[in-house]
Amino acid sequence: MLELGQIQSTILREYYRKDSPSFECYLFLHFTEAEDARALIKRLLPMVTSCADVDRGVAHVLNIGLTYPAVDMFGFGGAAHALNQTDHEATGAIAAFKCGMKARAVSILGDVDESDPDNWEPVYRNGRIHAVVWVTAKQEEALRQGVGKAREAIDAAPTVELLHVQEARGFSGEYAGTEHFGYADGIAQPSVLGSGIPDHPGDGTPRKRRGWDRLQPGEFVLGQIDESGQNQFRSPFFVNGSFLVVRKLQQHVVRFREYVAEVAQRNGTTPELVASKMVGRWPSGAPLVLSPDRDDPALGADDRRNNDFRYDGDPDGLRCPLGSHIRRNNPREDPSGPGAVQTRLHRIIRRSTPYGPRLPDGAPDDGKERGVMFAVINADIARQFEFLQLNWINSVLSSTVLTLPADRDPLVGQQLRGRSAGKFLIPSSHRKKAPTIAWGLPTFVTTRGGAYFLLPSLDALWDIAHGKTYEDPNGCEQDEPQRPPDPLPEPRQPSPCDKLPRGEPEPAPSEPAVEAPAANADPPANADPPAEVTAPADANPPATPPSGARSKEGG
């Protein structure tokens, strides 16, 4: 059993569709002075809810996430840095967090054209976010109370700047639980071992014949055993924390409806069928694999059945097309794609709540912005969220059937333009009927901004609030945060932000640096302070020539 009293509630609670809160508010903060920020966290700490609090019942939920600059400001950057020296895998996990979303948006997340970081909202573009206070509630009044208390605490900290307030609210009535395209959202969440909540069939990893296994908690909670059977994060600062990805995704509803209607009309079918084939589910949430011909609201509403399926019986994608959104992002045990062994390494917990008014069916474009505030919980941003985005959404799957790199996730992928625009193929099951092909897919979902956060455990938040420091895993004493920065910057390590999504793998992290320190003049665009500023000198032993040194210097 996990230490549920230590884990912030958003990590393991209320992510299933029917439990999810309808009202959300994100308060993005910028810190100027560490002491003031500590005082703010100290004031907010009693309000932060853990998973155990939610189980006991609370009116609203408040969680705090910190970006890497904030972690560094509090003097814990060294914890991450020391981890870099010892563990390759955690290096990958921390590298993404350190760089921040903006630095990796184009190269890894595929945010180009309309989604380009230059077109993001200023708050995300400027890279000044240090923390997010995330308040959610099932009632609007409770949310107001929670946000009011949080703002009181923020107002009491003179140097803390409230950068932006982003609200989101779920639809009510017949559209409850759906997003702007009209499809039920929040189904197929991973079930986590030891989370203490009942899971639904289909949420875990498929067993060999039938049944599902729960995922190891280390996939979502740091400092726990993950699917590789290892604990990648042993530093007490990380234990019971998690990484949070927040993305503001704009949905182009009119573009989606018009395109789907056009394809349907050209091929003599219904717009609902074309759209559902793209999603992989009917609007009610009923999966196409179980109900291929028509929507089945009863099935969609039944959490015991609506996710209990595999793709073994549909190797050719006749029911659920191979390129559809749900099949790409959670291939389960796909006979024509990644197997269960691979899928289990790339699961994420998603929480998305719509923002903006719902556009009534058939209504013309009202010019208003709408979309979802999309949040992801994962223990390794690079291996989980970024991998999905890079390989399964915006690229060709490691599949035995999908071949065209131009064909991306039809729903959320960033489509190319012009001649190289992607398409989406709906296989035909009739002998004398050609498949339906949706040519020249436009981009239906664009990114308006986002950031990577660490959701520390309640203990770690207490430590931050009280200025406590840890010994790093190497046994070296962590320096006091007030220590003046080391005047001699160490040679620049190959920046993880430079990581190519395709192409050569990163060289071994301990490879001798080749670039001069002056190269630091070009830091990640979100202006992360260089790690060496606060990193203790003794936490960075001189890089011993590893076996990987051969990669440059020969054996």
Binding site: S107, V341, F387, L402, K433, P435, G503, E504, E553
Partner: protein, 440 residues
Amino acid sequence: MPSFHDFDAESEPHGDEADEACERPEASPFARSAGMSRRALARGMVGAVVTSGLFAGCRPCFSPFSPKHETKLNRGPRTFTLRIEIQPGRYRRLEAMLDDPSFNPFETPSSGIHFARLFTAEHRYLYFMVIYDDYEDAITFLNVNAKGVDPVFENCTDYPGASNPELLDEYVRSKFLCVELFYRAYDESQREIRDALALRDAFLVFVRSIEGVSDKELRTRYAEFLVNPNMLNHDRIRDNDVDWADTEAGRPLRLRPLAMPDPEQAISAPDRVSPFTLMARVHPSKLPKLVRTLRLGTFANIELAARPLRNLPTLHFARVSVVDGNQMLFASVYDGDFIQYVEDFSTRISKEIDTVFGASVGYPIAGSADIFAFKDFLRANQIVTRDFAGSYLDRSLLQIQSSVKLTKALARFSKRVGPDHRNLHTRMQCFLHDHQHLLT
């Protein structure tokens, strides 16, 4: 409850039973299942061989119904690896030259070359690997790129220059490094692949253009499509020996160097194919077994060779050499992201990978199934590929496989169904249905 002694007594045959067991050797599984003794089975097999020789008129084989054809050399891409000693004091200079992003040794396209790469190792050696259709193609490739290649190879000992093919040929042969194992995912020549890819692109345009058109219009467009220069011209190429690389200007299928890392362009850049090179020290005690295994063809023994798509949809080529009797050199060409590539190894062909890499020092105890440790092993032993060029860097393996299949299918279809066919519309729909998985 039986004691240990009881067990021993039960497991030991004795008396008549034991004698019988000694006299009659155990029959083979097949014979056992057929209820035959080994001798009877042998008689039957001899009979079958003789019968097949009589009736099928071929040299004896074990199947009377499908006589084996004469064995011949498999067609398809081949490879060589050169290991050339760098002149003393020239290593740094060479390294700087290869690292220069503006320097491209392989500027001139040349047909018959799939991929080529250059890298240095051990401060002493320059390695050159090329995957080609004919050995002459490889020599021609170096020859036409003499301007780019000469400055590199001049740093090595005894280099005669690439402008003289005879001397170059002699030099190349003297520098061969034995390739113990070569895996390839396709058997088609570079020209065939290039044409197939172009044809599939043209076919997709054609399919889009016939959506909802009248019967007459369909016939016109189909007739137009059939005169596509890429359509079924492989025989023509062989006959005329035309260099199609020159006639296909504008097609992105020429030999191009690896784009330098540019994170800003990564997603939108079309290149999908990447090289991976690794050099790992081998346990001396495990070396003989490794060489034996490699020569038997670990990769060939698994289904990979027969059904590469089913097993490893991202690996174009892989080859392994043993260097100096104590190191293993592994080089591959793969699609997509490195993490995905490693996971494909670990999840799809874990056993075979363990057989190949298991002899290396530092290999994870749990083998490649421990993905994280395996990834660390690969990263730690990786060698930077200094220059990499390929004929279809923007095409994935699956795309190549699909294009080749589609080309063959179209060849068959166009023979049976011409533009004047009575049921052209229905036949076209059936064709698209039957091959819809090649269009995804």
